[in-house]
């Protein structure tokens, strides 16, 4: 089976310290990778490397067989990234944020699609409120609603469960399972060991060094 996302012998050096080296991974359609590790073990760096935001010190990341550094645009169109920063504009409403983000990606930016996405994240009726007036968890959910408006096959989620209440955690897990069912791949980090979707593989960073 063809690998959708693949890393070959990745090394990451930040601030003179090697966070990980010789790391290889391979994700096929419908697979989920759960990256765990202590603070500072390089979880975020790994995710940013997989997105192409951070150039690896050694090694390369392949998307459907193509080096992501060479196929930036094609990969970007198939990638949805939710990082530590929400990437939402505080002065705009949740709906405006979603629709403008979809328009910038060339995705479906119709009102109906964005309303539906907010509904999926339990934000129905909050779409016309400027994001600055939402709570921390609601802001996070606006960022996650972008996942519903995109057609991306690769989801990279950095601490997506942070600041979410119990109901939203369930909702997000449902979204992830749908994405895997569609044949997408999901890479995520989380602090709490959560109930992972069936078949999720686990990658523990920083364990080998024993630091």
């Amino acid at each position: 089976m063809e690998a959708i996302l693949q890393a070959e012998e990745l090394s990451c050096v930040r601030g003179g310290r090697t966070l990980f080296s010789g790391l290889s991974l391979r994700l096929e359609a419908g697979q989920c990778l759960y990256v765990s590790g202590d603070n500072g073990s390089g979880k975020t760096s790994l995710l940013r490397t997989l997105c192409g935001l951070l150039a690896p010190a050694l090694g390369r990341v392949l998307w459907r067989g193509a080096d992501i550094a060479a196929a930036r645009e094609e990969f970007g169109a198939d990638l949805a990234f939710v990082g530590h920063l929400n990437g939402t504009k505080e002065d705009l409403t949740a709906l405006e944020n979603l629709r403008l983000a979809a328009a910038a990606r060339g995705d479906d930016d119709s009102l109906a699609r964005s309303v539906e996405a907010l509904g999926r994240l339990g934000l129905a009726g909050r779409g016309e409120v400027p994001v600055r007036r939402l709570s921390q968890g609601q802001k996070r959910r606006v960022a996650l609603a972008r996942l519903c408006t995109s057609r991306a096959g690769v989801w990279v989620l950095d601490e997506p469960f942070n600041a979410l209440d119990r109901g939203s955690v369930e909702g997000l897990r449902g979204l992830i399972e749908e994405q895997l069912g569609r044949g997408g791949v999901v890479v995520l980090t989380a602090h709490q060991s959560l109930e992972l979707p069936a078949g999720a593989s686990r990658l523990e960073l920083g364990a080998r060094e024993g630091s």
């Binding site: 150039a55 970007g76 990082g83 983000a101 910038a104």
Partner: protein, 222 residues
């Protein structure tokens, strides 16, 4: 592809509409700085006519520098910038979209404001119109060069002053040809050559600067 450029520009214009003060402050800064000179220099008409174009240009340059801080910094701080660069659209188009919005919010209003403010220097109709034309052709280059500086200093502390120090020397040709165009019109010579040179500088920076900006933005996100 052009859709992505317009979507980014539309986003920035909508954001500016929510924060009108930021845009108006730059325009008022320009008007106040220009208006100070006739008061400081005195009402000698010949002197004012001589220094007017240069003062309007320098004030336009300084006002543009003030606006650079918000070009990428806000998007960098809230994570929108990484989303835009991962959007699957050519990053150069994203940068051009941001440039378009920036010029419409700074260069364009300054160009329009230069017409009434030139009355303070008794420039006369034809030199005033040349000044407006020169600003229209030259301010895109200022926005583009400024964007390179803003991208290079992204995430640095005290980046605001540094960006001014980096970019202002690069805008010297724009300043020289911009004032030369007005002088040529007042002196009865045609302003065609300096205006064409201004257009050339703007087009060259439009063609080359986006690549440098994209490279600088990618480094700042690492």
């Amino acid at each position: 592809m052009i859709g992505a450029l317009l979507a980014v520009a539309r986003r920035d214009l909508l954001l500016a509409a929510r924060q009108r003060g930021d845009v108006l402050n730059i325009l008022f800064f320009f008007l106040v700085v220009v208006a100070m000179f006739p008061l400081g220099v005195g009402p000698e008409k010949d002197t004012l006519r001589l220094i007017g174009p240069g003062i309007v240009w320098v004030a336009a340059l300084l006002s543009s520098m003030l606006s650079l801080g918000r070009l990428f910094a806000l998007d960098h701080a809230d994570g929108s910038l990484e989303q835009l660069l991962l959007s699957g659209q050519p990053a150069v188009l994203v940068v051009l979209g941001k440039f378009l919005a920036h010029w419409l919010l700074t260069g364009f209003p300054l160009t329009l404001a230069a017409a009434p403010i030139s009355i303070l220097f008794d420039l006369g109709l034809e030199p005033a119109l040349t000044l407006v034309g020169a600003l229209a052709l030259g301010t895109p280059a200022i926005s583009m060069l400024g964007a390179v500086g803003a991208a290079l200093t992204l995430g640095l502390r005290g980046g605001g002053v540094l960006v001014t120090l980096l970019v202002l020397p690069l805008t010297v040709p724009v300043l020289i040809f911009g004032t030369m165009a007005v002088e040529a019109t007042s002196g009865g010579l045609g302003a065609q050559a300096p205006l064409l040179l201004l257009a050339g500088i703007s087009l060259t920076s439009l063609a080359l600067a986006p690549w440098a900006i994209v490279a600088a933005l990618r480094i700042s996100l690492e």
